[in-house]
């Protein structure tokens, strides 16, 4: 089997803080220290109050599947062995609805349920960079627990 890893991010963009947190297995997004508003993707000033006093903070609270697709054609050699695979957009309501796009682990014989609670796990890109991934939780738990999303 060819040893071709998943393409990962380059750390030459404004989202370097996101990826450096991932290297600690933490999912972080920018939060404004002036008005406490969360936003994603990163941008040099708070979209709500225009402060540049921003901090990468760990996302908190439960995450829910907002939408998804299932990819059936391998457009990169690294995914040839895993197609079809799912991509999910996962929403963190406690963090002003910040959404993270990531691989979604889901059985190929049924459709992921939008609204399902998701749990975070980690996969690894070719260069060793940890990448966030989610799986929908099978058991339903009504309560939204507030805890760092760094399971």
């Amino acid at each position: 089997m060819l040893d071709i890893g998943l393409p990962g991010p380059k750390n030459t963009h404004g989202d370097a803080g996101f990826w450096s947190a991932c290297r600690q297995h933490e999912l972080r997004a920018q939060r404004c220290l002036a008005c406490e508003h969360w936003h994603h993707p990163p941008i040099p000033m708070c979209p709500r109050c225009q402060s540049s006093d921003l901090e990468w903070q760990p996302l908190i609270g439960a995450a829910f599947l907002f939408s998804w697709t299932r990819v059936h054609i391998a457009m990169h050699p690294a995914v040839t062995a895993v197609i079809p695979y799912c991509i999910g957009v996962v929403e963190f309501p406690v963090c002003d609805g910040v959404r993270i796009i990531a691989r979604l682990d889901h059985p190929s014989d049924n459709a992921p349920a939008i609204g399902a609670k998701c749990e975070l796990y980690w996969i690894t890109a070719a260069d060793g960079q940890p990448l966030p991934a989610f799986r929908t939780q099978v058991q339903s738990s009504g309560a939204v627990s507030i805890q760092p999303a760094t399971l």
Binding site: L6, P7, G8, P9, K10, T12, H13, D15, F18, H39, H40, P41, I43, P47, F66, S67, W68, T69, R70, V71, H72, I73, M75, H76, V79, P84, Y85, I87, V89, G97, V98, R99, I100, I101, A102, R103, A111, I114, A125, Q129, L131
Partner: protein, 394 residues
Amino acid sequence: MGKRGAVIVGIGQTEYRRRGGWSPASELELAARAIMDAANDAGVNLRAVDGVCSYANDMPGEDAYGAALLQVALGLPMLRHSSFVWCAGGGGACAALAHAVAAVEAGHANVVAVVRSVCQNPDARYGQFSDRRQFFNLVMPAGAYAPAHLFAIWMRRHMHEFGTTEHDLAQVAINARLNANRNPKALFNSKLLSEEDYFGSRMVADPFRLFDCCIESDGAAAILVTTRERAMDMRARPVEVLAVGQGSSGGWGAGPLGSHNMPRHSYTTGNFGVFADELFARAGVGRDDVDVAQIYDAFTGMVLIGLEDFGFCDRGESGAFVRAGNIGFPYGSLPVNTSGGHLSEAYVHGLNLLIEGVRQMRGSSTSQVENAQVSFVASCPGLSPSSAALLGRS
């Protein structure tokens, strides 16, 4: 509008070919040939062109055809206007027309070409993995390698919220093909598409099957804009630009091509926001006055969402609208993508749709809506900012 008012006096195109079919011709050459064709169509000396507008020249080799190179290639003695639409991908087609109209009406230039040329070489295909980073650095690691993946996620949410179905998407694909079957210049002119064919085609990115995705094609298209006064000396019957412009509602950024953090209330829209109402108000026409529409269809779902954004049906009702046969030619209330669109004519990034909107106002479409007076054209829903135009018969 007075004598300085801008009108469309020429349309041009190269032959549309499957991806690679123009190799080794460059985007520059095809762009230049499309402008020559438009000048010929208008009956104006090519040397009179003194402005060039484009957009979305976003494949590797980003200076593939700039205004300066076009000026040299075409031997234009004087260039008075060049402009490029900022960061709007295929959302920039009608915006480039807006630039041309503004330049002409301000007196900055006399005869302005709007042009788009697409040559997808093996290293630069919209439908394949790309190492471009501007939008993709956050999303590529998720396994989202192409626009189909990202717009599929957007469309899936629309289906979840409103009950839109794969059968509705199929209607859009089949409608485009039926129109292409009447258009000899369409790449899929001779290929039929049944609902069975549609559902039998391979899944690309759920809910998009192969026939939900635009053609991989090469070609170029151009439009010439000048003043009403100058148009009187030209051959072609001018087409009125009733209103044209750009619109993006707040908080979208790269939208579906980025990390999908658009505002929740507008996520399942095409991001045109209040621009839709403003466009109709500026044109002084209502939705019911529109006889025919071209809506950007890199993917079928964009047509559904575009119909909703511009108020041809209520939000969430586009599935029912197409199921009722409204977008069909000739009997629908609003025939859509009458040249076959990106799905079945060619993918020229929205400029071939704009040309078809002009043809409908000249009475020269191969799916000509009888006595059409007002023609609507929308560039790519979901991009920021996108653009749209209302054209009128003169």
